[in-house]
Every structure is written in C-alpha cells, then in structure tokens.
Amino acid sequence: MMASSYNAKEEDGHHSGSSSHGGPGAMKSKKPDNTAFKQQRLPAWQPILTAGTVLPAFFVIGLIFIPIGIGLFVTSNNIKEFEIDYTGVEVDTPCYNCAKNFSWNSTTPCVCAVNFTLDQPFESNVYMYYGLSNFYQNHRRYVKSRDDSQLNGVESNLRQPSKECEPYRTSEGLPIAPCGAIANSLFNDTLTLYYIPPNGTKLSVPLTKKGIAWWTDKHVKFRNPGGSANLSTAFQGTAKPVNWRKPVYELDEDSENNGFINEDFIVWMRTAALPTFRKLYRIIQKKPNSTPTLSSGKYVLEIAYNYPVLSFDGRKRMILSTISWMGGKNPFLGIAYITVGSICFFLGVVLLIIHHKYDTRSNSAEIPN
C-alpha cells in the first residue's frame, strides 16, 4: 500500500502538525484549484434515456424506415436480372465437351453456344457480368500476391517485381509483368451475345468494353510503364504470366485499353469479397429511341471456353442485369429496412403502453397529499 501522491506534496511542505491551508504568505496552499474543471462542475447537458424521451425517436425511425424499405423493395423488384450457368457439368449442357476436354496448351479455343430466352424486355443500360462460384479471391496468399507499384508503371518494379508475387514473380529468368497470382488467374473466357429475331438470322448485340472499371483505377492506380510509347518495347525483357496465352501488351488493339490499363484486367485485379462473386464484363448501351435495349425473345450466348473451373469444383455463369439508383437486384436491403422499421414502430407502441402504465403509477405515488 503506497502513499498517494497527495501525500508526497504534504511531505514537501511540512514543518508543523497543524493544517496548512489558509496560511498566508510563506507557504503555498495545497488546496486544489477552485476551477470548474478541477472541481468537476463543468456545465453539462444531462440527458436521461427514459421511455418518454425515446418514444418519439422510435416512432420517427419506424415512420422513416418503412417507406424507405418499401421503396427499396419495389425498386429491387423492378430490376430485371437473368442468370445462366455455363460451366458444363451435366452431360446435356452445351459446354460439357469444352469443360471435359480442357487442355492448357490448346491453340484454338473451344467454342460453345448456350441458347436462352428472355421473357421480358430489358430497358435502359443492361450490364453483363460473369460470375464465379467457389473461387476464393479473398484468400490471404492470393490477395497479397500482386505488385501495385509495378502496376502503377514504376520502371524498377517492372524489372524487379515485389517478393509478394512469389511464385509468380519470374518465369524462365525474366520478370513477369504483371506478376502475382491474381494477374495470373485472369478470367479469359470470351462471351458474345446474339439476338435471334423471330424471322431471320442472328444479330450481334453490341457490347461496350469501356467504363467497366473504376475511373480512379484506370486513370491513376494502373499506369503503363514507359509512357504511351510502343508497349511491346516498354515491356521488353519481361515475360508474360505463366497461364496467359498472350502477353499483356496484346490484350487489346486499342492502345487506350492495352497493357496494364486494360479494363478487363483492372476489373479482375480488384479482388472480390466473397467466394461467390460477379464482375462486370460488358455494358449494353441503351438504344436512343424508346426501344428496349434487349427485347424479349431468343438469344444465344457464344462462349470461347478458356477458363477451367471444374478442377476446384467452381462454377461459371453469365448474368444480365439492369441497374437502378440502388444498384443491382437486392431485395435484402428493402426487407431489412421494412423489418427494422416495423420492429421500431412496434417497440414504440409497447413503450407507449409501458410509459403510460408505469409513469402514471409513479407520478401518482410521487406527489404527496
């Protein structure tokens, strides 16, 4: 048991047993300052959480959340989404042969075509996604396997990629550009969409490949090394990632979409949060007059099946979806708002009963006669 510090202060100044406060002149007073802060009497607001104060809040929350929830739910229900799995697991699926006979060093891509029908026309911009299941892009070793400086166009990292990229750092003695497991596993299926009108041959649906990656990613975070000069000379002395068929400077003929700033590549490099995810692949722009972007009817999806997923029991899908101000089809947000709003409102009613019953009881007891 140690003496407190106040004790020590007394020791400094002591020379008599008598109390020292009030002694003028020679000795400094040991009394604490009489300020609001030190005497703990700062002005303060002292709220109390009673039924009476909380009741209005509950009703307000209930009354705000329920309409928001209904709005969200209705908006979500109006979003049209179509999903088709084309992995080719079953024997009777179109891509079964491609899936079964997949080989890493085949020069010609295996092509399969999946027919589907859209029951309802899709209005406004339609977004085409590819989805993967059981693919853990959020695995720790996978997530760290990249070199952001190399992808930002730093020359030194192009020649000596970061150690985090191991074992996808060098190939045949040359540094890999782009290095790492994320880049190496780039999704390389090609999906094209054709509309089959009731009479006639199939029409190709125009797919836009720009605007699918974050603007800041494409213009700031990912930069090609050596400026916009000839990319193949900028990447000279580097090797392509092990599982790619083409090197990075041949991803697209358009120089704005080639090299590290290729939008498909950027989209892939943004690792997904969960093992079942989707990534934006193409955008189908809305038509100028009020014709639907995708009218209802028969469609065929032609796939260049390059990406093997069956070895880890993964699945591949293509998703067509319209988008609203609240994003894609997600009834959960609407339902959650309605639920929380109703619970709040119900609790408000319960508290009103309790407040009325118990507060009037205690009020009558308080006032003495």
Binding site: M1, T50, N125, I323, G327, F332, I367
Partner: protein, 399 residues
C-alpha cells in the same frame, strides 16, 4: 488500543464470512498497522504527525472529507471504471468478431477484413478518447444528491457492475453487434452490385463498410451511456468520428509513396458514393443499437434502480431546486440553476456544513417540493427492515 489490536480487529472483519472490503481511517502512529491491514487505508493529517498519512492509500486533511470521498468520489470512480472495463471489452469484441466470422468465407486463410491502418488505429485513435473522457468526467448523479443520500451506494454494492451477469450482457451485446454488422454487410454485398453504374466493389470496400459501421456503432453506444455531457465529451466523441472520416479520406485519397500496396486507394470515397452503402450503414447502426436502448428503457420503466429514480426526480425538480437554494441568490449572480447548486458545495469544503443546514431549513419550509424523492425511496425500500427508521426521520433523510 494498541496498534496490533487494531490491526487484528480489521483482520477479523476481513476474514469473516462475507469477506467484505474494509476501510480503516486513522490519524496517529498507532493507526498505521490498522491502515496497512485494511483494503483501503485512509490517513488524516492531524496533530499527531504524518505517520498515518505516509502509510495510507488516501490522505485527507479533515475527517469530514471522508464523506465526500466515499459518497461522491468513490462512487464516481466505481461507475467510471466499471464502464471503462466493460466498454473496452465490448468494443474489442465488436472489432474482432467480424474478422473471425470472415474466416468462414475466405477459406480460413487469415485474411484480415480491415486494412492494416484501420487495424492499428482502431484502439488508438478512433475509439480511445471518448471512453477516456467518460472515465474522467462522468457524473451519473449530481454530487449533492450523492452526499445527501448514502443509500444510493446500494446500487453498486458488492461490485455489482463488474459481476458475471453484467459482463456476459456486454459480451452478448458485442457478439450481437458484430453479427449484425458482418452479416448485414454480407447479405447486402452477396453477389449484387452496389453502385449505380454497375461497377463492383472488392473485399477492401466490404471491410471498410463493416469498419465504418463498427466505429459509429461503438461510439454511439457510448453516446447512449453518457449522462454528463461537458464540452470535452462533445469534442472527443464527435471529434473521433470526424477524425475517422477525415483519416479515411486522406488515407485513400493519395497514392502514398511509402506504402508498398495501394489497395485502399479511393476505396472509402467509392463506398461513400454508393447510395445503398449509406442506407446500409444507417440501417446496421440502428439495428445494432436497438436492443440495448430497448433494454435500458424498459428496465428503467419497469424495474428502476434507486439511482435511476433519483435521476428522474432530479431532472423533474431541477428547476425548483435552484430557486430556493438560499446561497445562490446571495453569493453569486444567478446562472443556470443546476450548475449553481453544485458549485456552492465545492467552493469551500468548510462551508458545506453551513450550507446544508441552510438547505435543510429551507426544505423544511417547502416540504412538498424537494423531499418528494424520499417517498420514492420508500417505494423502493418497501421491504427493507431498516427502512422505517430511515423514512421516519424526514429532515435527516433530506440531509
């Protein structure tokens, strides 16, 4: 009595069946053994020298200061430290449990949910100052009421705020909040787009969303628990939240050259530019805080503790109390009532006895107004045996 005998008495009480916490007060050298033996030893700086003071845990100049030390400072200290301990465990459960839950969805590969900057700064910058200021400033009940009504100590007797039931309640609350935060974000993110331009979010945006909800939820939990809001409380609580937002904007706004990863670049801004993200943050914070608020309000209405009744009475009669405090009009220009009432007591400890006598006298004259919380105590202590003597002598209970 000999010093050894005094120490033996204290030891006897300490080892008695209930094992109470003992406190010994003394002012002379013969009290030293007793002071050392007791759990809490208090020395009075008296005419008999400084021996008792040197060996004690707390030293006071006069015996009468014991009352304020026990009833006010001791009580405040206990309330503050129990909330500090419980809150610290709670906020860290809320912090780590989502990371634990995430492992089920990332192949158990120990992938963190939050960025390293957030992991480091959570306990240092974002959530440390509010609880620190709470544990320095909180006053759940006014000082005068605490001094006048020792029965308030019953609410915290036997370490009641740090017992297993309370701790389990806080832990369950933390687990509940963590589940709401994580699975709320999970179902919102699950395989859908969050943006209005079709672009997708990644795992760092997911983690940042959960982290944002986390920081706001735990801070608002402290907001709901704070009863005494000084300017310092406002400053640190709102300041911590603002600092979190500003830090996130700064951290993700620039390609920092000293970092060897740029995974957080623009993540926070992208998250904030999505309408559903805002809506989910608001929803998850509300859903997280709802049960605790409901529990507090219902318990307070149906089974109020003495403390809570006093708080209600204090709030109810605050205005009237200041009016007939005699010293208020004499000593200083009248200001906000409640503050004045407290300040008169602290101005000079020597005068407190005179003040309380005057207050008692005044209250005698105006009995129905201030002493009405005594009937409240009567309601509460309906069953306690010593209550009748307590309630019978009305003027003393008001003192």
């Amino acid at each position: 009595m000999a010093p050894l005998q005094k120490a033996q008495i204290v030891k006897m009480i300490k080892t008695s069946k209930e094992h109470p916490i003992t406190l010994a007060i003394g002012d002379g050298a013969n009290d030293v053994s007793m002071i050392l033996e007791a759990h809490v030893g208090i020395g009075i700086m008296g005419k008999e020298g400084r021996q008792a003071v040197r060996n004690s845990d707390y030293a006071i100049p006069k015996f009468k200061h014991l009352k304020k030390m026990l009833l006010v400072h001791g009580h405040y200290y206990y309330i503050r430290i129990s909330e500090l301990v419980q809150y610290f465990f709670y906020k860290n459960v809320c912090f780590i449990f989502p990371q634990f839950l995430y492992q089920f969805f990332c192949g158990f590969s120990q992938q963190p949910l939050y960025d390293t900057a957030y992991l480091t700064l959570y306990n240092i910058s974002f959530t440390s100052l509010p609880i620190l200021v709470y544990s320095l400033m909180e006053q759940h009940i006014n000082m005068d009421i605490l001094k006048k009504d020792p029965s308030l100590y019953k609410d915290i007797a036997k370490n009641s705020l740090l017992r297993w039931p309370t701790f389990i309640y806080w832990t369950v609350l933390g687990v509940y909040d963590a589940i709401v935060m994580f699975f709320g974000a999970y179902f919102l993110f699950d395989n859908t787009t969050f943006t209005s331009n079709g672009q997708m979010f990644g795992n760092w945006t997911f983690g940042t969303l959960v982290f944002t909800v986390l920081v706001f939820t735990v801070t608002f939990k402290l907001v709901l628990d704070t009863h005494y809001w000084t300017w310092i409380n406002h400053f640190v609580i709102w300041g911590s939240l603002v600092f979190f937002v500003l830090f996130s904007l700064l951290w993700g706004g620039i390609i920092w050259p000293f970092l060897n990863y740029q995974r957080m670049y623009y993540v926070f801004m992208q998250m904030l530019s999505s309408g559903p993200a805002w809506l989910s943050i608001i929803l998850l914070i509300t859903a997280g805080l709802l049960p605790d608020v409901v529990k507090k309000v219902i318990w307070r209405a149906m089974w109020p503790t003495i403390t809570e009744r006093i708080q209600d009475a204090d709030k109810l009669y605050k205005g009237q109390l200041s009016e007939f405090t005699p010293l208020a009009s004499l000593q200083a220009p009248p200001k906000a009532g409640g503050r004045r009432r407290g300040s008169e007591n602290q101005r000079n400890p020597r005068r407190s006895a005179a003040f309380s006598k005057k207050l008692m006298f005044t209250r005698w004259q105006r009995r129905p107004d201030y002493c009405t919380f005594t009937p409240l105590l009567r309601l509460v202590d309906g069953h306690s045996p010593h209550h009748n003597a307590y309630g019978g002598a009305e003027p003393e209970t008001c003192v």
